[in-house]
C-alpha cells in the first residue's frame, strides 16, 4: 500500500491550508440558509456544512468541523468546487464524487468535473477512510435539502 496515493500533496495542502473554513451568514439576506451536522460514529469526526442559496445558485458553502486530514481536506475541496455553482451542476459534481468514493479504486475520475477532488481517488482504496472523505459531502446533501433544493436527504454514509 502506497501511503502517498492516499495522502496526495493536494489533500495535505487543503488540510494544512483549508479554503473557506468557518460558518458564515449569507451575504444576501433574501437567501435561504440551512445547515447539517454529521458525525462519523466510529471515529468521532464531525462536520457542519451550511449553504446559502436563492434556490438556483449556491451562493456560499461554509463549514466547520474537526477530524482527520481526509475529512477536513474533503470539506475544503467541496467548498472550492461547489460554491457559486448552479444547483444542478453542483449535484452532478456531488454524484461524481460519491461515485469515485464508492468505486474501490476502480473509477477513473474526470478532472474537469472534480477538480482537486480527483486527489481523493486513492482514498477509495482504503475502505476505512471512505467515510471520512464522504462526511462533508453527505452533510452538504442534507443541508441543501433543508434549504429546499435538491432531492430528499440521502442515507448517511
Amino acid at each position: 500500500m502506497q501511503l502517498d496515493q492516499l495522502y496526495q500533496e493536494i489533500i495535505l495542502d487543503h488540510y494544512k491550508r483549508p479554503h473557506g473554513r468557518g460558518l458564515r451568514d449569507a451575504d444576501d439576506p433574501a437567501d435561504r440558509v440551512a445547515e447539517a451536522h454529521h458525525v462519523n460514529p466510529t471515529c468521532g469526526d464531525e462536520v457542519t456544512v451550511r449553504v446559502a442559496t436563492d434556490g438556483t445558485v449556491l451562493h456560499d458553502i461554509s463549514y466547520d468541523g474537526m477530524g482527520c486530514s481526509i475529512s477536513q481536506a474533503s470539506a475544503s475541496v467541496l467548498h472550492e468546487l461547489l460554491r457559486g455553482r448552479g444547483v444542478g451542476e453542483a449535484f452532478a459534481v456531488h454524484e461524481a464524487f460519491v461515485e469515485l468514493m464508492s468505486g474501490r479504486g476502480q473509477v477513473t475520475p474526470d478532472e474537469d468535473v472534480l477538480g482537486d477532488g480527483v486527489a481523493f481517488a486513492g482514498v477509495a482504496r482504503y475502505p476505512a477512510r471512505v467515510k471520512c472523505a464522504l462526511l462533508p459531502w453527505m452533510a452538504f446533501k442534507d443541508a441543501t435539502a433543508r434549504a429546499g433544493v435538491g432531492v430528499s436527504p440521502e442515507v448517511k454514509a
Binding site: Y7, L12, C43, G44, D45, G67, C68, I70
Partner: protein
Amino acid sequence: MSSLTIPAGMPQFDDVPRFDVAAVRADFPILDREVNGHRLVYLDSANTSHKPRQVLDVLAEHYAMHNANVSRSVHTLGTEATEAYEGARAKIARFVNAPSVDEVVFVKNSTEAINVVAYAFSNASLGADGDPRFRLGPGDEIVISEMEHHSNIVPWQLLAERTGATLRWIPVTDAGRLDESGLDDLVTERTKIVSLVHMSNILGTVNATARITARVREVGALLLLDCSQSVPHLPIDVVDLDADFIVFTGHKMCGPTGIGVLWGRGELLAAMPPVFGGGSMIETVTMARSTFAAPPARFEAGTPPIAEAVALGAAVDYLTGLDMRAVQWHEKELTAYALDALATVPGLRIFGPTVPVGRGGTISFALGDIHPHDVGQVLDSLGVQVRVGHHCAKPVCTRFGVPAMTRASFYLYTTTGEIDALVGGLEQVRKVFD
C-alpha cells in the same frame, strides 16, 4: 529505560517468574506475517489478543474429534463434549480463584455479561417477589465511572430508563485516575449497584478498588468489576478483590471470540431471575409455567459456544503455564520502557497515568494536532497496528477534550523492539504532517 532499584525487603526482580518472549512469540502463528511489506508489529491487544497454537489446536481438535451438544446426551461424544465444556469452566474458576465452579457463567463476551446482570435487575424489579438486592425503582441509584467502556455505560443507562432509577458516576482526574474525593456522597444508602472498570481500556489505569469496596459494603450495595482488561494481564483473585460480580471476555486473553465469563457470588446468582429463556436453563416446563435450573445453567439458555469455551480453557492453561505474575511483570517492564520512549517524541501527550504504577500496558496519546486517523494510517503503512478513535469510551475523550486518541497496547508477546518501531513510526507521521 532507567533501571529500577527495589528497596531491600521488597520482592526483588529475581523473585518474579520470567518467561522467554522469543519462545512465547513462536507460539503465535500470526506474528510471523507481514503487513504492507513490513514485519507485523501488533500493538492492539487491548482490542483483541492473538491466539497461540495451543488454543487454535484445541479449537480444531474439538470439532474434529469431540463434537456433540452438551448436557443433553448419553452417548460417548456427548459425554466427551460435556466433560470438556465443564472442564473448561473448572479451569476458569481456578484461574480467578472462584470459591465454586458453579459461580462461573459462560456468556458471549463482557458486554453480554454486564447486560445479564442489568436485566436480572429489571426482571427482579417487575414482580413483587424479586430479591430486594436486585429491585430498582425511582429513588434508587446506580453508580459507574467516567472511565467506563460503553458496554459498562449503556446497559446501566437503559436499566435506569426501564426502572426509573438514577445513574451517577465517579469522575476522572486530570491524571486519569478515579476521583474518589466525593465517594461518600456518590455511593450512599440509595445505591443498589456500583459497576466499575478494573483496568481502563483507554487510559490504562488499574483502579485501586479497596476504598470503593469498603464504601459499597458500608451502604449495602453490590459491586461489579469489569475485568475485561485486567483478567488477561494481571493475576486476578475474586476472593481478594471482594467483588460481587466480575466480567471478562475470552478474545482478549488468548481465547477465541464468542465466549466470555460472568462470575458472581454463588448466593447472588442464586437470587437472580433468569434473563434468557430456552433449553438447558430450566428445571421443569409445563404449558402454563416453568421453573428454572440453578446457576450457572439458569443463565446459559440454548446451545452455548462449546468449542469456544473449551478453547478458552486452553487459553487459561496457556496463561497459567506462563504464570500470570510473569505476564504482569513482562508488561510492567514494557510499560516503563514505552513511557520513557514516548516521552522522547516531540509534541506527544499521554492521556492517563504517565508512571508505570497503577497502570497497565495500554497507552493512549495525541501527537500534536495530528488526527489519530492519520497517525494510525501512517503507522499501518509501516506494519504497526494501533487503534485510533474513541475506543468505545467517548466520555473519556470528552473528559480530555479530544474527539479521538491513538492507543498502543501490549501483551505477553510484545517486545521492546516493537515499541521502538512505534516510536520510529511516529517520527514518520510527523514528517508527513508537519
